[in-house]
C-alpha cells in the first residue's frame, strides 16, 4: 500500500537548507492502522504532507497504491488528494460557511462524484459516526467531537486508499478523543480502511496496530 525507501525532504528557508526528512524507509500494508509518534521537528508532519500529496519529496522513492509520488506533477498530486487520500486535521478544518452535510458534499463535488447517490456503506458509516441528526448544522453549532466526526466522514466519503489523520484528538477532551479514536479503529476494522495517524499522545497511538517512532527526520524504530 505504502512503500517508502530513502525518502528525503529539504526545505529551502532563505539561504538555509532544512533537512526535514533524512532517508525514511517505511512500509504500510493495505488495511493497516499505523500511528506515527515523535517529538516536534522529527519529520512526521513532513511525511504526512508528502504522503498526502501536499508537497513533493526531494529524493528517494515513495509509492502509494502503486503510484510514484516523486514523479508526480502538481496537477497529479491534486488528483491524488481528490481520489486517493483523505485528511483529518487537529483543528477539524471544516468550511465554516457550510453545513456539516455540505462539508461532506463539497468533497464529493471536488471529486466529481456529486451526482452519484451515497452508497449504503457510507450511510452506515454516518450512523456509526453518530452525526446523522447533526448534518444540517454549521460547524459553529457543533461540538469539537462532532466536528471531528464530520471531518472523518468528509475524509472517507470518496473511499480514499489512505486516511491520513494529523493529531485528530489534539483539540479534544478525553471522552471525545476516545470516541474519535474508536471511530477510526472501527473504520479500520469494518471497512479495512488504511489509516496513518500522527500523534503526540501514546494513549491515542495505542489504538493503532503498529506504532512508528520518528526522530531527526528518520524512522527510529517500530514500537
Amino acid at each position: 500500500m505504502i512503500e517508502i525507501q530513502g525518502l528525503t525532504k529539504v526545505y529551502h528557508v532563505g539561504d538555509t537548507d532544512v533537512h526535514a526528512l533524512r532517508g525514511v524507509d517505511l512500509s504500510v500494508a493495505r488495511g493497516e492502522f499505523v500511528a506515527i509518534i515523535g517529538p516536534s521537528g522529527s519529520g512526521k508532519s513532513t511525511l504526512f504532507h508528502i504522503l498526502g500529496g501536499l508537497t513533493p519529496p526531494t529524493s528517494g522513492s515513495v509509492h502509494l497504491d502503486g503510484r510514484d509520488l516523486l514523479a508526480m506533477t502538481d496537477s497529479e498530486r491534486t488528483h491524488l488528494r481528490k481520489t486517493s487520500v483523505g485528511f483529518v486535521f487537529q483543528k477539524y478544518n471544516l468550511l465554516p460557511t457550510l453545513t456539516a452535510a455540505d462539508n461532506i458534499e463539497i468533497a464529493r463535488h471536488i471529486a466529481g462524484r456529486n451526482n452519484e447517490p451515497h452508497d449504503l456503506q457510507f450511510k452506515e458509516t454516518l450512523r456509526m459516526l453518530g452525526i446523522a441528526d447533526r448534518l444540517n448544522h454549521k460547524p459553529r453549532a457543533l461540538s469539537g467531537g462532532e466536528q471531528q466526526r464530520v471531518a472523518i466522514a468528509r475524509a472517507i466519503v470518496n473511499h480514499p486508499a489512505l486516511l491520513l489523520a494529523d493529531e485528530p484528538t489534539g483539540n479534544l477532551d478525553t471522552e471525545n478523543s476516545n470516541a474519535v479514536l474508536s471511530v477510526l479503529r472501527d473504520l479500520n476494522d469494518r471497512l479495512k480502511q488504511t489509516i496513518l495517524m500522527i500523534t503526540h499522545n501514546p494513549e491515542a497511538a495505542a489504538f493503532a496496530h503498529r506504532i512508528i517512532k520518528m526522530r531527526d527526520g528518520r524512522v527510529e524504530r517500530a514500537v
Partner: protein
C-alpha cells in the same frame, strides 16, 4: 454545490458583501444617471421644440447642424422673405442667448407672433411682458431658482424682472422680448433661428424644397429632422463624457471588487487550504472566487439600477430643469460593465488564492 458555497461565502460576511454591492451599485447609478439625464434633457428639448408649433426651422449658414446657442445670426429681412413664400402661414425670428447652463437659453421672442405659432403660453402666475426688462420663465425653472412674479434675476449678464411663470413645453425655459435681447446681446434686426409654420402639413415638403432653393447655404430642417438630430450621439461632448464615466466606473468597480476579494482571500486563507487538501484544483478555487465576484456584480448592478429611480426622484425635487429618463436599454450594458469590473477585480486575488501553498494555507490562523 459550488453555487451554495459561493452564496454562503457572501452571506457569511454580510456587511462586506453589502458594502461591495453598494460600491458597484453607486458606480452603475452614475452611468445610468448620466445617460438618463442626457437622454431626458435632450428629450425635453425635443418636446419643447415641438411645442413651438413650427413645421420648419431655418438656421444661419455655417452654423452647426445642432447648435444649442445662437452665435451665428440671420437678418430679420429674411423673416419677411420667408413669410412671402407660398403655403407659409407664419414665420417668426427668435434670438437665442446662452444662459450659462449647457442646455438653457434665454430666447428673445416676438410674443404676439410666438403665441400665434405655438398656441400661446398658459400662465401659472402673472402674465405677458409689461416692461422691457421683463422675463417669462417656465414652472421648472421658476421652481429650481425659487422665482415668482416680481422676482429679479440676473441671467447671462443683465438683471431681469419676472412678469410671468408659464407651463413648460414651449421652446425654452426663459423668454424675453426680442428687442430688449437685441439691445443687450446683439445688433438690431438679428435673429438666431426662424421658425416657420406651414398652412397644411401636406405642404411641408414643397415649402422645404422651395426654401432650400432660395436659401441654398442655410441650414433648413423640418421639425422632425431637427428633433431626430437631437441625440447624445450628435453632441460629441456628451458622448465623450459618457465614455469617460464608463471607464471611471469600470476602474472604480474593479477597485471595489479587488479590495473585497483580496480581503476575502486573506481572511479565508485556511479555507482555501482546506479546499486544496480536498483536491480542489487552482481552476476550481479561481472559479469559486470569480463566481463570488460575478454574484457581487449582479447584485451591485441591480442595486445600481434601482438607485437610478432614487436619483430621478431627487433630481425632480432639487434640479427640476434637468429631466432624467429611465433607460432600460442601458441596463444590460450596466450589467456588462459591472461584470467586466468584477471579473478584472477578482482576477488577481483569485490567482493569488489559486497559487497559494496548501500547507502554508492550512497553517494560517
Amino acid at each position: 454545490m459550488i453555487h451554495r458555497l459561493v452564496f454562503e461565502n457572501l452571506k457569511h460576511r454580510p456587511v462586506q458583501t453589502l458594502l461591495s454591492a453598494i460600491g458597484i451599485g453607486v458606480s452603475i447609478t452614475m452611468i445610468l444617471t448620466l445617460v438618463g439625464v442626457s437622454r431626458g434633457t435632450l428629450g425635453d428639448i425635443q418636446e419643447r421644440s415641438r411645442g413651438t408649433g413650427a413645421d420648419i426651422l431655418i438656421r444661419p449658414p455655417n452654423s452647426a447642424a445642432l447648435s444649442l446657442s445662437g452665435n451665428m445670426k440671420l437678418g430679420d429681412k429674411l423673416v419677411l422673405k420667408v413669410r412671402e413664400q407660398p403655403h407659409v402661414a407664419l414665420a417668426t425670428g427668435i434670438l437665442m442667448q446662452s444662459a450659462g447652463d449647457l442646455f438653457d437659453n434665454i430666447d428673445g421672442i416676438n410674443l404676439a407672433e410666438f403665441n400665434q405659432m405655438s398656441g400661446g403660453f398658459r400662465y401659472l402666475e402673472g402674465g405677458p411682458f409689461q416692461r422691457p426688462d421683463d422675463m417669462i420663465v417656465d414652472e421648472d425653472y421658476a421652481r429650481s431658482k425659487n422665482l415668482h412674479v416680481g422676482s429679479e434675476v440676473t441671467s447671462a449678464g443683465p438683471r431681469w424682472h419676472i412678469s410671468g411663470v408659464v407651463e413648460p413645453g414651449k421652446l425654452a425655459r426663459m423668454f424675453a422680448q426680442i428687442d430688449t435681447m437685441r439691445e443687450k446681446y446683439s445688433e438690431p434686426g438679428e435673429v438666431s433661428v426662424i421658425y416657420v409654420k406651414v398652412d397644411d402639413a401636406a405642404n411641408i415638403p414643397s415649402v422645404l424644397e422651395n426654401l432650400r432653393q432660395i436659401m441654398p447655404d442655410h441650414k433648413i430642417f423640418t421639425m422632425q429632422e431637427y428633433t431626430d438630430r437631437v441625440s447624445v450621439n450628435s453632441i460629441p461632448l456628451l458622448k465623450n463624457f459618457t465614455n469617460v464615466v464608463i471607464v471611471l466606473t469600470v476602474i472604480w468597480g474593479l477597485l471595489v471588487v479587488f479590495q473585497t476579494m483580496y480581503t476575502a482571500v486573506l481572511q479565508r486563507t485556511r479555507e482555501i487550504g482546506i479546499l486544496k487538501a480536498l483536491g480542489a484544483s487552482p481552476g476550481y478555487i479561481l472559479g469559486v472566487l470569480l463566481r463570488e465576484a460575478v454574484l457581487l456584480a449582479v447584485v451591485g448592478a441591480i442595486a445600481g439600477i434601482l438607485m437610478t429611480f432614487g436619483t430621478r426622484a431627487l433630481m425632480h425635487r432639487f434640479v427640476p430643469t434637468l429631466t432624467q429618463a429611465i433607460v432600460p436599454d442601458w441596463w444590460w450594458r450596466a450589467l456588462l460593465i459591472a461584470l467586466t469590473a468584477a471579473i478584472l477585480g477578482a482576477l488577481y486575488p483569485g490567482l493569488k488564492a489559486a497559487r497559494q501553498d496548501a500547507i502554508e494555507a492550512l497553517a494560517y490562523d
